[in-house]
């Protein structure tokens, strides 16, 4: 798994590539925690290049979502592939997280209403 980060306005996008599993979830948690620690609370996770996520990856999303919201921000997901979308739908994550078709849509959604 690889990650890269970019910022547009006060929205931070973390681009994730590869598989988020029990081994790589910790690295993803670190990247997201670093952003939160730097007061970047408006987060988009770009899942466009994520092939698979295990429940360890979902746990990272849950932790980040709660922290971002407790600081007045949010974590939003973008560009899920159908397999990953299915995992998030079944487990109910799509009922607690906002999901967008593209990174642009997700970034812009923060401008709509804060």
């Amino acid at each position: 798994m690889q990650t890269s980060v970019d910022r547009r306005g006060d929205v931070t996008t973390v681009h994730i590539a590869g598989s988020v599993d029990g081994v790589t979830a910790e690295a993803l948690q670190q990247v997201l925690s670093d952003e939160l620690a730097a007061d970047h609370h408006h987060l988009v996770a770009d899942f466009g290049a994520v092939e698979y996520t295990s429940s360890a990856g979902l746990r990272v999303l849950l932790a980040t979502l709660k922290q971002a919201r407790s600081r007045g921000g949010d974590l939003r997901l973008a560009a899920l592939n159908p397999d990953v979308r299915k995992v998030l739908d079944l487990s109910g994550f799509t009922t607690i997280l906002r999901v967008f078709d593209s990174v642009d849509d997700a970034v812009q959604s923060f401008g709509d209403h804060r």
């Binding site: 029990g22 979830a25 295990s54 429940s55 360890a56 979902l58 746990r59 849950l62 932790a63 709660k66 079944l90 487990s91 109910g92 994550f93 009922t95 607690i96």
Partner: protein
């Protein structure tokens, strides 16, 4: 300043115990040059206090100056159970066999001639660290074996038996302990079977601890009388009992899911742990069942030579956040039909080429076996094992089957 990386791996924490100060102490000096973390102490109370305060790997006991402090210190060290894993190397003049013998008898692990070359010091220290790691690994493995045995106690010792329904189940942990669980118990007086299959997020010890919690919350809230939760409800036992007796199985399941969810989300929210759980309440005599699927893999209803029906989620995984609502679904097992609940470790199991077992292979295996719970479980496990071959399992695997016998 970056410390040099010692040859052969991570730096060791070494306490040099002896009369010399670190500045003119050749042993300590050599060790620091090799990149190890070195502290010094005089034999006796000072050295013992340091050992108890910080985790040292090795004690290098310098007995160049003979005295009574050294043996007494070693005796005290060896009689402290908390320090049993600390390796002790005695540095003594090479010809002083009497002193060396005395210290080895008192429990020193190895010795080093007082006049030594760097290669010898490295070799002795390396061997001490290897012994230390082996002891650590052994003690961890003993602890994990204990945990595994205790965890087995959180699974039902035997599956309930009733005319009309046959149950069978299997759970294969990927590691010593598992985040998967299943449960099956009978509600009195109705005789309803409650069936549970759950998968706590992530793997390993953390998931195993929460497996025990989820399983117990579900069992105790579904069956407060049989489940041992009488203390929780105290004097209102009768009241609760009446309320439960009048609840329909569907009400009971949605209440169990809501209670367990809120308990985890409110009391353990900081850990961000959650579990996907399939719960069913099955009446053996009629085959009628209600279910709540909390974010779990769809359980399957198998009709021999017929369609396979997936029981989709009726609510989110338990623990995502407080105040989630859970709906219930219902169905009927006709004679010969089976209800199959499992965890994703089954469909996501991979062979050596990295290919997943998948829904299609699971469904084919279920259709291929005689409609009996035990033959379905056996058949699926054998098919899976033939598929994965010797590949290491990457996730826990659980399968619970209820077959209506007539």
């Amino acid at each position: 300043m970056t410390a040099p990386q010692p040859p052969g791996g991570a730096p060791a924490r070494v306490l040099v115990v002896g009369p010399a100060a670190v500045g003119d102490d050749t042993i300590g000096h050599h060790l620091q040059r090799e990149g190890h973390v070195v502290d010094t102490a005089r034999p006796g109370a000072e050295a013992l206090a340091k050992l108890r305060a910080e985790p040292f790997d090795v004690v290098l006991l310098d007995v160049a100056v003979p005295g009574t402090d050294g043996p007494r210190f070693l005796e005290a060290l060896r009689s402290d159970a908390d320090l049993a894993d600390v390796q002790v190397i005695v540095a003594a003049p090479a010809d002083d066999l009497e002193t060396l013998g005395q210290y080895l008898e008192l429990g020193a692990d190895d010795y080093l001639p007082r006049v030594f070359g760097p290669a010898m010091l490295r070799a002795r220290l390396g061997a001490a660290l290897d012994r230390r790691r082996l002891r650590d690994a052994e003690s961890l493995s003993r602890e994990m074996a204990v945990a595994r045995n205790i965890q087995r106690d959180f699974l039902p010792e035997a599956l309930p038996v009733a005319r009309g329904v046959e149950l069978a189940a299997v759970l294969h942990p990927a590691r010593q302990v598992s985040g998967d669980f299943y449960d099956a118990f009978v509600l009195a007086p109705s005789g309803t079977f409650v069936l549970v299959v759950g998968d706590v997020c992530d793997k390993g010890v953390g998931a195993a601890l929460f497996m025990a919690l989820f399983r117990s919350l579900i069992r105790a809230s579904a069956d407060p009388v049989g489940g041992g939760a009488i203390q929780m409800i105290g004097g209102r036992r009768t009241l609760v009992r009446q309320a439960l007796d009048s609840a329909t199985p569907a009400d009971l399941l949605t209440r169990v899911a809501g209670f367990t969810n809120d308990y985890i989300a409110r009391l353990h929210g900081r850990t961000n742990m959650f579990a996907t759980v399939f719960l069913a309440a099955l009446t053996p005599a009629t085959g009628q069942f209600d279910y709540v699927n909390a974010g779990h893999e769809p359980a399957l209803v198998i009709v021999p030579n017929g369609a396979i029906l997936g029981l989709m989620p009726t609510g989110p995984a338990l623990g995502l956040g407080p105040d989630q609502s859970f709906l219930s679904g219902e169905g009927t097992l006709e004679p010969g039909h089976s209800l199959v609940a499992f965890t994703d470790g089954l469909v996501e199991a991979r062979n050596q080429a990295g290919e997943a077992f998948g829904d299609a292979r699971l469904e084919a295996a279920l259709q291929a076996h005689r409609p009996s719970a035990s033959s379905l479980v056996r058949g699926v496990v054998e098919t899976l094992q033939a598929f994965t071959g010797p590949a290491e399992p990457h996730d826990d695997l659980t399968l619970l089957v209820a077959t209506r016998t007539g």
